[in-house]
């Protein structure tokens, strides 16, 4: 899971992503690169296109323009040689998505499965790993997030913070190459935010490659290797957190930070 920090080849690269919903342009030529073991935090005002950007990376939304690469492989398209390509089928795309772990704002755990069931579901039924191995790894993940005792509980019996920690473990169980977080603490009660951020901080420290859309400025400041600030669907500023928070180079970033700190 852990990679040498800061190695040069990007795990995820997006080039000039564009996306429209009807006549509304939500993404304009957004590019990003995340190297192995790095954490990229995407900041920006509500409605700036942060979530759409994240969903375009694993093609839950199909971008209208641009390209996404996962370790150099084109996401969403299969090369046919001679520069020709065709869109991936649903199956191929699904297969590719297991290499991105995704954590949603609303957790979206599967309520009909126990905590353990949620964790082993995709490893067993999509990745076809042996059950005993999947269960052992899932239990190790539960230890890690401190929820071993909830192994056989159903999601409806968990608090929001516990649900989100399980959702993170569920994504990790697929052994993804990168984890995508879509505002993972935005629908939590304030007192439950800390436990989720603690898990995420640990992951960042262990060298899990992550892209985090968040409003948690504190988390971004201390856990991110790089900040991507976007507004109205376009990248406004990219900078290491120390520089971004101390002296943002654009007026819009300064305004944004004033409102959030």
């Amino acid at each position: 899971m852990s990679e040498a920090r800061g190695s040069a080849a990007p795990v995820v690269e997006a080039r000039e992503l564009g996306k429209c919903f009807g006549t509304l342009r939500v993404l304009r030529a957004v590019s990003l690169r995340v190297a192995a073991g790095r954490t990229l935090c995407v900041l920006g005002p509500s409605g700036s296109g942060k979530s759409t950007l994240l969903r375009c990376l694993n093609f839950l939304e199909r971008p209208d323009e641009g390209a996404v690469f996962l370790r150099g492989e084109r996401v969403g398209f299969v090369g046919l040689g001679a520069g020709r390509e065709r869109p991936m089928t649903d199956r191929e795309l699904a297969r590719m998505r297991t290499r991105f772990g995704m954590v949603f704002q609303q957790f979206n755990l599967w309520p009909h499965l126990t905590v353990l069931g949620n964790l082993v579901e995709s490893p067993i039924h999509v990745q076809h790993r042996p059950r005993e191995q999947a269960v052992a790894e899932a239990e190790a993940l539960l230890d890690k997030i401190g929820l071993r005792d909830k192994r056989d509980a159903y999601p409806s019996r968990l608090s929001g913070g516990q649900k989100q920690r399980v959702a993170i473990a569920r994504a990790l169980a697929m052994k993804p190459e990168v984890l995508l977080f879509d505002e993972p603490t935005s629908s939590l009660d304030p007192e439950l935010v800390g436990e989720v951020l603690a898990v995420m901080r640990d992951l960042a420290r262990e060298g899990q490659t992550m892209i985090v859309v968040t409003h948690e400025i504190g988390f971004a400041r201390e856990a991110a290797d790089e900040i991507l600030f976007i507004d109205e669907g376009a990248v406004v500023e990219t900078a290491p957190p120390a520089r971004f928070f101390a002296s943002p180079s654009t007026a819009r970033a300064r305004q944004f930070l004033q409102r959030y700190t």
Binding site: A94, M102, F104, Q106, V126
Partner: protein, 220 residues
């Protein structure tokens, strides 16, 4: 009167035959209907508009006609088209066709209420197509639709009484025979009613157990 009940009890073999026939034809047609409905529900939400339209029209027509009419259509009209089926096959087909439409519509409704994010979480974890349906969607819509499916199953049992008109020896048919032989309609029908009530209550009980599962494993 008590003596009459004694007469009815003396005919327990006939009534049991009827009861067993009713139970197995209902169980079999319920199971088959559910199986077909799982497939038809997929067509009802198909990405192809034409498929969706045609399937929905079929389902709507079936839900709009009385079961007895469908039974007559299959039993009396198919032979004129050159298709001659035994009364058992006719009865079973009618029950299956009719209830598939209801079950499919129930599943479609439950699916429409399933939060979109559930499907999305499935896609994000590598699911697509049939596997997404089978592993992520279907279990959830079954849990959500359990009580309504149970009610429809009870309706199926009650509709099965119509099978007597095509000479299937179900509970109603056998009860009718017993009362015709001994001229004791009241006592015979009372026993038959009690037996139907027992079947339906058992289903009802099952539904209530399922409800308890739904509290834990369903969406709030």
């Amino acid at each position: 009167m008590i003596a009459n009940f004694g007469v009815v009890l003396g005919e327990w073999r006939s009534l049991m035959t009827g009861l067993v026939n009713t139970i197995w034809i209902c169980a079999l047609s319920g199971l088959l209907s559910l199986l077909f409905a799982v497939l038809v529900a997929q067509l009802l939400v198909s990405r192809r508009r034409a498929v969706r339209r045609v399937t929905q029209s079929g389902v709507d027509v079936l839900r709009a006609i009385p079961f007895l009419m469908l039974l007559f259509l299959i039993y009396y009209c198919l032979p004129t088209l050159g298709l001659r089926l035994s009364s058992w096959t006719c009865g079973l087909s009618a029950l299956v066709v009719y209830n598939t439409a209801y079950f499919a519509e129930i599943l479609r409704g439950a699916w429409a209420h399933l939060p979109r994010e559930q499907e999305e979480a499935g896609r994000a974890h590598g699911y697509a197509g049939l596997r997404l349906y089978r592993r992520i969607i279907l279990p959830q819509i079954f849990i959500a639709a359990g009580p309504v499916l149970g009610n429809q199953m009870i309706t199926l049992v009650k509709n099965s009484a119509f099978l007597l008109v095509i000479t299937i020896p179900d509970l109603t048919f056998m009860a009718n025979q017993v009362q015709a032989i001994h001229f004791i309609p009241f006592e015979t029908m009372l026993v038959a009613v009690a037996l139907y009530w027992t079947i339906c209550s058992t289903i009802e009980w099952g539904v209530r157990r399922l409800d308890r599962v739904a509290v834990v494993r369903g969406h709030e």
